[in-house]
């Protein structure tokens, strides 16, 4: 595994190895192989959770960490990402985690950068968020042992969700039964893009579901041309205790990549009760999964000149 850009470009074996390593880290059975290597966190879009998670993962691995805050960086002064990254390589950075609003930004930079710095996608536009999908998978395995033939329903702003896409890519590799539920205006434009089942009706979508993954629905979406108000969304799609109890599997797992929009896509009451605990476990597992990702990418002889 050279980089972590999206789930499509890594193998099933890569995924299994990362999961195994994350488990070893969590159980305290694994030492860091990347002590004193240097990690740059380049977050060009707001994200406290993912950035903190990578930062703690790096610290636990004994890495040096450079935080690259976009507001103060040369990027906002018009320097190209390629130049910035080549510069980071020459000051000794071994890997860079990039969060960016443009889909495919790492594919673009990878074509231009001539030095062996490792890239980790921390979420790019509406393309991919592979570390999130890996930690979601890890969490599902902890709870269910396998995802094969499990009904996993993703509900919410599917069309803008890199989390949904990376989860679909990953869960498809392990033969999960994937369902997507959204109103027409938040559904993917093209149904041939992914081999999953599409629903507009929430009851049908979560009927017997083993996992309900709720995606954040931003209020701003509902202010766009051709979209109804957010109250319309809440009325039809808000996940609450009653809905889960009535339709989903009795051991249903509720997941959310965070941050949740309480009482829009998911009820506050549900988040605060027992079912919502998984969401905090996701956050915790995220650190171990990200340790596994960084350790895997950097354990080799790669060094900055």
């Amino acid at each position: 595994m050279e980089h972590l850009i999206d789930i499509q470009s890594i193998s099933k074996q890569n995924i299994e190895d990362i999961i195994y390593l994350a488990k070893s880290f969590k159980e305290g059975k694994q030492e860091s192989s990347v002590k004193s290597k240097t990690l740059a966190l380049m977050f060009c879009e707001n994200s406290t959770r993912t950035r903190c998670s990578f930062e703690i993962a790096g610290q636990k691995l004994g890495m040096n960490i450079i935080n690259f805050d976009d507001a103060h960086s040369s990027l906002s002064k018009g320097e190209s990402l390629k130049d910035t990254i080549e510069n980071l390589y020459f000051i000794g950075v071994n890997a860079v985690v990039i969060r960016h609003s443009l889909s495919g930004i790492i594919n673009n930079v990878l074509r231009l950068v001539n030095y062996p710095i490792k890239f980790v996608n921390g979420g790019d536009g509406t393309h991919a968020h592979p570390s999130q999908a890996l930690l979601d998978y890890y969490t599902m395995l902890e709870k269910m042992g396998t995802v094969e033939n499990k009904k996993i329903t993703i509900v919410g702003d599917v069309s803008h969700s890199r989390v949904a896409k990376s989860n679909i890519a990953l869960l498809s590799k392990f033969n999960a039964d994937i369902h997507l539920c959204a109103p027409t205006y938040l559904q993917f434009e093209n149904f041939e893009a992914f081999n999953v089942k599409y629903h507009n009706d929430i009851k049908e979508a979560i009927e017997g579901a083993n996992v309900v993954m709720v995606l954040r629905v931003q209020n701003e979406r509902h202010e766009q041309e051709g979209y109804p108000e957010s109250s319309e969304y809440k009325r039809l799609y808000e996940i609450d205790t009653d809905l889960l109890k009535k339709y989903a599997d009795k051991n249903v797992i509720l997941m959310h990549p965070g941050p949740a929009n309480r009482n829009i896509e998911v009820s506050s009451e549900l988040l605060d009760n027992r079912v919502g605990k998984t969401i905090l476990e996701q956050a915790q597992n995220g650190v171990y999964v990200r340790m596994a990702i960084l350790n895997t990418l950097l354990k080799g002889g790669n060094h900055a000149s």
Binding site: N107, D124, A128, E189
Partner: protein, 423 residues
């Protein structure tokens, strides 16, 4: 000068056969088999080669004035000659736009009469879509056609009046058919690839909807009209139907629409970014079908150069356009002729005679005694690898870089002057 032993393909007169051509003072003076060379006459043996009428590009962008880092009129012309073109029709979306006589004359002076240079002028002032240009004055100074290419004309009242008025001066409007509310912010074709990549899509109805609307106008006023860069299957169906109904419309496509699809764009590489966008395999097949049955009359390059730095930007921020002159003939021969989709004469007709006829360009697209010697010499079977680094165009980045093509321009002859290609 005597060109001997070539096979001549002259789509204008549906002629293909062995023939020699004599050129004196830039004019074709004899055109028949077995001509004897006179003493002191330069004789060129073209055994195994093809002579056709010089290629005519009815749609290109030379970027001058205003954007000379992308291309200049001089580099654009060199690139066109390298591609086998003896006549080109640059679009008006420069800065300032070619919407006035001063700018029109400026561009003609820059061209220095090296190539047949037939500027297309803007339909509306500044391409803003609201005020018609001074049509007759521009025609008197050399405007060959009118187009706001780069932007659609959204005001249907204005478009209707513009078609009537420009037609009354025996000129045609070339439509950049696009519905901007649907195209807005789009990066690539809307479909499974745009969804997977998380890029805003440009649905194919962006084009076909505009065409449907414009066809209704043309029909209502019995107008004459031309559609540029057709990319979508549905657009072709609409134009085919309109022609069947007897509407006086013509249409062109560009080589990338029968050579590439959205599937080529999976790595977010902006060198493939073009407007209209590369579409699906089904659309590509419809484009070829449209070329075969004559729904699509012409192949134009839509040569739209940008700097390498611009084309290396993230795909969302990079400009749209492909450097087209130097690969158009090779792609046409490779993907249409050698595959058996089009006969050689039909394919060449879409590159020379048909565009010249659509725009009414004299002395181009035809081989005949008394006409200017504007000719393209081709080796139909020579295989070559596209190397964008060697382009004469300033835009040395191309989605076809590294492509192996079969069929190559050997010489471009303009007004009797020979330009050897690839030297």
């Amino acid at each position: 000068m005597l060109l001997k032993n070539a096979t001549v393909i002259n789509p204008a007169e549906n002629f293909e056969g062995k023939s020699d051509i004599r050129i004196e003072n830039g004019i074709i003076t004899e055109f028949s088999p077995n001509l004897k060379s006179n003493s002191n006459e330069e004789t060129i043996d073209l055994e195994g080669k093809i002579i056709t009428a010089g290629l005519v590009d009815m749609h290109c962008h030379l970027r001058e004035p205003g954007f000379t880092a992308k291309e200049t009129i001089k580099t654009g012309i060199s690139s066109a000659i390298e591609g086998g073109y003896t006549a080109i029709c640059p679009m008006a979306n420069t800065n300032p736009a070619v919407d006035n006589v001063t700018t029109l004359i400026y561009t003609k002076n820059q061209a220095e009469q090296k190539i047949g240079f037939y500027p297309i002028c803007a339909v509306t002032k500044g391409l803003y879509g609201d005020k018609l240009v001074n049509v007759s004055e521009l025609i008197d100074n050399g405007a060959i056609a009118f187009s706001d290419d780069g932007k659609p004309i959204e005001n249907m009242h204005l478009l209707r009046e513009a078609i009537k008025y420009i037609n009354s001066h025996n000129k045609v409007i070339i439509s950049h058919s696009e519905d901007s509310s649907l195209a807005s912010g789009g990066v690539i074709n809307e479909g499974k690839i745009s969804t997977r990549l998380g890029l805003k899509g440009i649905p194919s109805i962006t084009e076909s909807l505009a065409i449907a609307r414009e066809l209704e106008i043309v029909k209502s006023i019995n107008g004459r009209y031309h559609f540029a860069h057709i990319s979508a299957k549905r657009s072709i169906e609409l134009i085919r139907q309109a022609k069947k109904e007897g509407l006086n419309v013509t249409a062109e496509t560009a080589p990338h629409y029968f050579s590439l699809t959205e599937d080529d764009m999976v790595d977010y590489d902006a060198k493939y970014k073009v407007n209209p966008p590369l579409r699906t395999k089904e659309d590509l097949e419809a484009v070829i079908e449209g070329l075969k049955d004559g729904t699509l009359d012409a192949i134009a390059t839509d040569h739209a150069p940008h700097t390498v730095a611009e084309k290396q930007k993230p795909i969302q921020n990079a400009p749209m356009g492909i450097s087209g002159f130097e690969t158009a003939l090779g792609l046409t021969l490779t993907n249409l002729v050698h595959t058996g989709k089009l006969s050689l004469i039909a394919a060449l007709g879409k590159l020379n005679y048909n565009p010249a006829k659509i725009l009414g360009i004299e002395n181009q697209g035809i081989i005949k005694i008394g006409a200017e010697a504007n000719l393209t010499i081709i080796d139909l079977n020579e295989e070559w690898i596209v190397n964008a680094q060697n382009f004469k165009s300033k835009c040395r980045i191309s989605p076809f870089d590294g492509f192996k093509l079969k069929g190559k321009v050997k010489m471009t002859i303009i007004n009797g002057k020979i330009y050897k290609i690839g030297k």
